[in-house]
């Protein structure tokens, strides 16, 4: 309660001194607050990537199952189930990221998925297996058209974005828990 009283008093003081006017707001308030804008933009980008990546896989589950098989990592029994569930997981995550729903869980799950994709690509690149990554499209292209290094690099950039967002959300949640219930802000 103390802080509320202090805020109210300071507002009254500002009014009484004639300083509380929107056109005389401090310089800081009018500038872009990058610590808020950047995470917002990153989450929109990641959300859009996940939604875009999910659509073709939802439309062509058989081709996506073949792409998973080509990775030669999952046991045969799990290939179809992964091809059925993973695209929906990506779609839901993308939507949640854009809408801003359950951000801690959605962001950490995005990071976990990207880490898995990155590991799978890197593993195959290192063992000399050249596959079509099946990341955004399930259409059977010629794998040798695009070098594996490009897939690894692209996934690495997405992973960095997700790691940044995860650390930001973790930090914000940590800060929010320090504040009293009335002061608490959104974690992002």
């Amino acid at each position: 309660m103390k802080h509320l009283r202090e805020n109210a008093n300071s507002s009254l003081r500002d009014y009484s001194q004639g300083t509380y006017a929107p056109d005389r707001m401090p310089e800081k308030r009018r500038r872009w607050n990058w610590t808020k804008v950047l995470p917002f933009v990153v989450r929109l980008i990641l959300g859009a990537i996940f939604i875009y990546a999910s659509l073709d896989k939802i439309l062509h589950p058989g081709a996506f199952a073949q792409a998973i098989y080509n990775y030669q990592i999952l046991p045969g029994e799990l290939i179809n189930l992964t091809a059925i569930v993973l695209p929906w997981l990506e779609l839901i995550l993308g939507l949640f990221m854009i809408v801003g729903l359950w951000l801690p869980g959605a962001t950490f799950l995005c990071t976990l998925l990207l880490l898995t994709f990155f590991g799978a690509l890197l593993f195959n690149a290192l063992r000399g297996l050249h596959i079509d990554c099946g990341c955004f499209s399930t259409s059977a292209g010629t794998p040798s058209d695009i070098p594996m290094a490009w897939y690894v690099l692209r996934d690495g950039v997405f992973l960095l974005l997700a790691l940044y967002l995860s650390s930001h959300i973790l930090f914000r949640n940590w800060e929010v828990l320090d504040e009293s219930p009335r002061q608490q802000r959104s974690p992002l």
Partner: protein, 176 residues
């Protein structure tokens, strides 16, 4: 108000993250499975992705060959072996009677490697690993090109090594 301890903050954030992650995964499983069941081109939830089944599905026949048969055919030179892995891997180690026909560069290699092989010759394709599909892909391609006597030695190189059979290194002599 008393501030939370570091441990309880971590527990609270961790709990929030995990229940949200779990619920999202559960949601995706539910929607994915229901949607799959109602779509006309549904996938079976669990399918057999073994090379044997895939070959049987694509060509309607079993084209696998056992290691014992392959070894005998190699020593008697009654079959032509194709290592379908990339050239670098072939040169590191391969089955002695095998030529290299990398699946990914098949168009570049095909005429040179297949030039003198009659269409009724017994051909055995192999690669490495239980799930490696390169040999299966080559077998199907050769079958459609008119080579009806094609077989696949699944997990060929690993089996060969496991049974301590001899290997060779370096490029295929016929390549030069």
């Amino acid at each position: 108000m008393k501030k939370m301890t570091e441990t309880s903050k971590l527990e609270r954030i961790g709990f929030r993250i995990f229940w949200q992650m779990g619920t999202i995964v559960l949601l995706a499983v539910t929607i994915g499975v229901i949607f799959n069941q109602i779509r006309p081109d549904r996938l079976r939830l669990v399918a057999d992705w073994s090379v044997e089944t895939q070959l049987a599905q694509e060509l309607g026949q079993n084209m696998l060959i056992s290691l014992e048969e392959a070894r005998e055919l190699c020593s008697s030179k009654r079959a032509i072996f194709f290592d379908t892995r990339p050239r670098e891997l072939y040169e590191q180690a391969h089955i002695p009677c095998a030529r290299n026909l990398p699946w990914e560069a098949r168009d570049e290699y095909f005429d040179r490697v297949m030039g003198n092989i009659p269409q009724d010759a017994l051909i055995i394709a192999y690669c490495d690993g239980e799930t490696c599909s390169l040999s299966k892909d080559l077998a199907v391609e050769l079958f459609y090109r008119g080579y009806d006597n094609v077989r696949v030695l699944v997990n060929g190189l690993s089996l060969w090594v496991e049974h301590q059979l001899p290997l060779e290194k370096g490029p295929w002599p016929g390549e030069s």
